[in-house]
Symmetry: C2
Subunit: 269 residues, 2 copies
Amino acid sequence: MDLSQCSINTITVRSLGLSALIDQALARGVSAVAPWRDLLATLGIDEAAQLLRGSGLRISSLCRGGLFTAADEAGRRAAIDDNRRAIDEAHAIRADCLVLVCGPLVGKDLAGSRTMVRDGILEVLPHALAARVTLGIEPLHPMMVADRSVITTLGEANDLVDLIASPNVGVVVDAYHVWWDPDLDEQLRRASGRILGFHVSDWVVPIHGQLSSRGMMGDGCIDLPALARSVRSAGYAGPVEIEILSDHWWSQPPELVLDIALDRFATCV
Amino acid sequence: MDLSQCSINTITVRSLGLSALIDQALARGVSAVAPWRDLLATLGIDEAAQLLRGSGLRISSLCRGGLFTAADEAGRRAAIDDNRRAIDEAHAIRADCLVLVCGPLVGKDLAGSRTMVRDGILEVLPHALAARVTLGIEPLHPMMVADRSVITTLGEANDLVDLIASPNVGVVVDAYHVWWDPDLDEQLRRASGRILGFHVSDWVVPIHGQLSSRGMMGDGCIDLPALARSVRSAGYAGPVEIEILSDHWWSQPPELVLDIALDRFATCV
């Protein structure tokens, strides 16, 4: 099985620690991993960076920065500070990009919240440029606008990238978040050259909440092979991250989850 | 309280029968109601039509036609036949429009499913024209694409209306489905003159599924007053339907639900 383009996002098998995940990736011929920051914090960033850099694995992304929206100035300042730390961590582990989950709605002001996101990215951008870290704006599914991200479509993410106009800012495409979008093919073409990551899982029904209802590739209704072709046609040639937030799969033994996920990866991506 | 622009969708207080809902609407000064078809079927369409027409209430819509997508030709034919019956029922009760919930994804073919929707509307349109029934394409929230509707944005609905180009086809705007859309204001302007209905509820978190997590107006994070202004600026001057599909509110006494809903209507719409 060719897994040279495959990356495992740590959240998919979150009960594995970083060290065990690295071992699994190496043993299975997976070329990359993508850690969440909480996992780095558990070890301490220095030890985590040493482990990751010593593994020889590619780090397809660090998840996550963003969350720029806040009800007051103190909250916004705290988010900026945290994003600078996330940029430092992305630099320390040599991540291909820092994923930005841009932040939820504040109050009932969608336009204002979206402006906070733009301003937040602009404010941390000099730090990212100095650290040579690229920032990947990931649009999240519209059902997450109240909880996680006011950036809901690839079109919005592209608009932000256009506005910010920095070689260090691009987009991250996650199948679960964008697959439904009637404008997706056009926006993928528009994103050509600025796609910093591609994440896969599947949409299974019924969903039982916004966050952890994702399905295993092939179990749901996303045409992943077609989407993968479109993403590659837009010039993306990097790793494809398996990122499954799922109460069901979290309840299974992580080695079994990896068995299935990598098998599906071969047929679905 | 001025409820001259208020309509109660029967699903909001589904434990009331049609007759009791009509009594409640008349007693409370509500000007319109909007029945679901199952409620008409319970009484029989002739008796239901007699009740509704005898009440003097406006019928802001009949919910619902659509569901044009199907895995095979027999399924598609059955949907066409059912839509013709729905059009006849909308005519019988003098509904302002028949709401089209356009149908879920078939297999993994979004584009093909969307084409089925277009073809289905075109096929039933002559019957609607003959019955002088208008068809309201209602985009549903993108989290419902696998279960209910491949038409997910007002932009898509507008595209369909443009393509079909009939005075008997327009759009229905439901706050719950469209509020998140960064393109909403532009698409409302584009929908000017073709908005056939406006439905309200609210987005509360956490959602616990696609269908029945809707909130009472004012309990969630939708800026309903601003949205109502935008809809009215686009020329819509008809009734505003209270349509709350909610396990929580369904578990409450319907008279209490109406007390609260009408009170909120006055401040939120």
